[in-house]
Amino acid sequence: MALLELDGVSRVYEDLKALDGVSIAVEKGEWIAIMGPSGSGKSTLMNIVGCMDQPTGGRVLLDGRDISKVRGRELTEIRRSRIGLIFQQFHLIGYLNALENVMVAQYYHSMTDEKEAMAALERVGLAKRARHLPSQLSGGEQQRLCIARALINYPEIILADEPTGNLDGSNEEIVMELLHEMHRDGRTVIVVTHSPKVADHAQRVIVLEHGRLVDDRRNTERRE
C-alpha cells in the first residue's frame, strides 16, 4: 500500500481549476520532485499533500485513510505529527532566535526540549548560531534552520517548496545534502521545484501543466 495516494484530485478556486484530476501514488521512502511552470498547480498540490488545503474533488489517502474530508483540528493533528514543511521564503519567526524557532515546532507538537532542538541545529551546522535571530543569519543558514525545524518532530514526509529558490550555489549544495540525509534516514521527500538541477536529486519526477499531470517518470540519472 502506498504511503500517500492521490486519486483524481481536483481543486477549483471559483472559476479556476488549479488541479484537475491528478492521481499519484507515493511509496514510503520515495523522493519525488514535482515540476511545472508557474500556475501549473504545484503549490496547490503541495498544500493538499501538506494538509493545509482540501481538494474539491477526488480522494487523498494517507496510509490508506481518506483525509480529503478531514477538517480543522484533526487535519492540524495529521500535519504536525506526520509532515515537515520547508518553505522557499523560510518563514521563520523574526523575534525568536534560531533555537527558539526550532522549539516552537516542538511546542506545538508536544513539549519543548532544548537539548534536542540544539542537536537539530548541530545537524544542520547551526549550533554556533543558535542564539542568533533569523535576521542575523544568511539565506542559506535560514533555510538550514527551516530544515532543522521541519526535522525536529521526526516527520515521515518532508514537503519542500522550492527549497533552494533563494539560495546561491554553495548553499544549494548544503541544503540538498541535508535532504539526502533525511531521505537516507527513511523519510519520504517531496520537493516542489522549477529547477531541473534540484529535480535531478529525486528518484521520480512528476510534471504538472495547467493542473494536469503530464509526466510521471523515474529519474534514471539521479544525483546521489
Binding site: 498544500n47 493545509m52 492540524t76 519543548t112
Partner: protein, 463 residues
C-alpha cells in the same frame, strides 16, 4: 515557551503594545475617576444638598392632619410647609400670623402654648430623641433639631413667637454614644450677626423683629417676665425673621412644658424614590413580605420615616417632598451622566484596541499562518496574541488606575472642595471593564486570526 513567545512578541511590537497600554490607561483613568466620583458622589452630593434643609419632618400624630405624605406635597409650591402649619393649627388657637408666615419655608411646627398639657398626643418627647440615632438607617441621619413653638409676651404685653430649639447640642444616645446635632448646621444658609445662644438666658432674634423692637446683639429683652440677652440677630428669608429663637429647655421651663416638642426637623441621606417607595409611602401594608424587606432595608425617605415612627411615640414622620425629590432627581441625573460617559469611554477604548489588534494581526498574518502550518491549533495561536494584549492592558490598567485616582481627587477638589477617597469596589469593576474592553476590542481580530488559512498566507493558495 509560551512565556518566551509572549515576552518576545511584546518586545517585538513594543510600539503597538505601548499604544494599546496607553489606550487602556486613558480609558481606565477616566473610568476610574468617574466610578470613584460616582460612588462617592451619592453621599457627597447628598451632603451638599443638605444645605437646602431638612428633608424629613416629624410632628405629633395627634396634631397632624392625617393626609398621605405625597398628596400633601402636591398641594402647592409650599405644600410641605403648609402641612407644618397645619400641624400647628391642629393644636389650638393660633397667634396672629402674618400672610408670609403661612407661606414661608423652613419654620418649625408649633402652637401657642395654650395646648392641653394633659394630652400626650399633642407633643413629641424630647427624652425620646436619642432613639432617632438607633433606627436601622441611623448613620444616614445627618442632623436633626427639635422645636417647641409658643407665644410669649414682651415687657409691654406684645405677643411674640418664641421657638425653643437645640442650637448645638451634644446628645447622649441610649447606647451611651454621643452625637452633636442642632439647628445651626441644619440652617446653614441663615445669616447671623452676633452669635447663636449658648445659654438658657440668651436668645437670637429674627432680623425683622429685631428691627421692629430696635434690638441688636448685646441688647436685652423681657419675655413673660424673664430677662433674656440678645446674643445674635439672624436673617432666614422667611417668617422666622419675625420670631425669637432660644434654648429649648428655657422655653419648656417658661411654659411648664418639660420634655415637650412640637416638631423635629431631620436631615437624612436618602435614596431617590421609586415606584416601590411610593407604594410603601401610600400604604406599607400593601407590600409583600419581600417588598417590605427591600423597602425597609433601603434608605428611602419613606422607609426612614416609617422607622422614625416606630421609635418615637405618637409621632408622624413625613418627607418634605420638594427637597427629597429635587435631591433625588439631581443625584439620578448626575449618576446617569456618569454612567453614559463611562460606557462611551469604554466603547471608545474598545474601538481603539480593536483597530490596533486588527492591524497587528494583519501585520503578523505570515507568522500566524506559519504557526498553524507547523501544527498550532487556533487556540494555541490566539493565546499568545491575547496574552500580549492582556499584558499590555494590565500595564495600562495599573497606570490608568493611578491616573484615575488622581483625576478623581482633582474633580473632588475643584467641584466639591473635598477629597474623594479611592473606592475599593472600583478595582474589580475596572478590571472587569478592562477585560470586557479587551475582549470586545479584540474579538474581531481574533476571529480573523482563527480564520487565517496557512496555505493562503504562505503560498497565496495556488500556483
Amino acid at each position: 515557551m509560551l512565556f518566551r513567545m509572549v515576552k518576545k512578541s511584546i518586545l517585538n511590537q513594543k510600539e503597538r503594545m505601548l499604544i494599546i497600554a496607553l489606550t487602556v490607561a486613558l480609558g481606565v483613568s477616566l473610568i476610574t475617576a468617574l466610578l470613584d466620583v460616582m460612588l462617592d458622589i451619592g453621599d457627597r452630593m447628598n451632603r451638599e444638598l443638605k444645605v437646602y434643609g431638612a428633608n424629613i419632618l416629624v410632628t405629633p400624630r395627634g396634631a397632624t392632619l392625617l393626609k398621605s405624605w405625597y398628596r400633601i406635597g402636591d398641594e402647592g409650591e409650599d405644600g410641605g410647609n403648609e402641612e407644618i402649619f397645619a400641624a400647628s393649627d391642629a393644636k389650638g388657637p393660633q397667634e396672629p400670623a402674618s400672610t408670609d408666615e403661612r407661606s414661608a419655608s423652613g419654620g418649625p411646627a408649633g402652637g401657642d402654648g395654650s395646648k392641653d398639657r394633659a394630652d400626650p398626643g399633642m407633643y413629641l418627647k424630647e427624652s425620646e430623641l436619642g432613639r432617632i440615632k438607633t433606627i436601622f438607617w441611623a448613620f444616614n441621619i445627618v442632623d436633626f433639631a427639635p422645636y417647641l413653638k409658643s407665644r410669649v409676651a414682651s415687657e409691654d404685653g406684645t405677643p411674640l413667637t418664641f421657638v425653643g430649639t437645640w442650637f448645638r447640642h451634644r446628645l447622649v444616645l441610649p447606647t451611651m454614644e454621643e452625637v452633636d446635632t442642632g439647628m445651626v448646621s441644619l440652617k446653614s444658609w441663615w445669616q447671623l450677626e452676633g452669635a447663636w445662644p449658648e445659654a438658657g438666658d440668651q436668645v437670637a432674634l429674627g432680623r425683622a423683629l429685631a428691627g421692629r423692637l430696635g434690638l441688636a446683639p448685646g441688647s436685652a429683652l423681657t419675655l413673660d417676665g424673664r430677662r433674656f440677652a440678645v446674643s445674635g440677630v439672624f436673617e432666614a428669608g422667611g417668617p422666622e425673621d419675625g420670631w425669637i429663637y432660644g434654648e429649648l429647655d428655657a422655653l419648656q421651663e417658661l411654659k411648664g412644658l418639660e420634655d415637650a416638642l412640637d416638631s423635629v426637623e431631620i436631615s437624612a441621606l436618602t435614596t431617590p424614590d421609586n415606584e416601590l417607595s411610593r407604594r410603601a409611602a401610600e400604604d406599607p401594608s400593601s407590600l409583600s413580605v419581600k417588598e417590605m424587606e427591600t423597602w425597609y432595608c433601603t434608605a428611602y425617605a419613606s422607609s426612614i420615616c416609617y422607622q422614625l415612627e416606630e421609635v418615637l411615640s405618637g409621632a408622624m414622620a413625613r418627607p418634605v417632598r420638594q427637597v427629597a425629590a429635587a435631591e433625588g432627581a439631581i443625584l439620578e441625573k448626575t449618576k446617569l451622566l456618569m454612567v453614559l460617559v463611562t460606557v462611551l469611554t469604554a466603547a471608545s477604548s474598545a474601538l481603539g484596541i480593536s483597530n490596533l489588534v486588527t492591524a497587528g494581526v494583519i501585520e503578523r498574518s505570515a507568522e500566524i499562518a506559519l504557526m498553524k502550518a507547523i501544527g498550532a491549533h487556533g487556540r494555541q495561536v490566539a493565546i499568545p496574541v491575547i496574552a500580549s494584549i492582556l499584558v499590555s492592558a494590565l500595564a495600562g490598567t495599573a497606570v490608568g488606575y493611578g491616573l484615575g485616582v488622581w483625576f478623581a481627587s482633582v474633580i473632588g477638589k475643584t467641584v466639591f472642595n473635598a477629597v474623594i477617597e479611592p473606592q475599593l469596589a472600583v478595582i474589580p469593576a475596572v478590571l472587569a471593564l478592562v477585560a470586557l474592553i479587551c475582549l470586545t476590542g479584540s474579538i474581531g481580530a481574533i476571529r480573523m486570526l482563527l480564520s487565517l488559512q496557512p496555505a493562503q498566507v504562505l503560498h497565496g493558495g495556488r500556483q
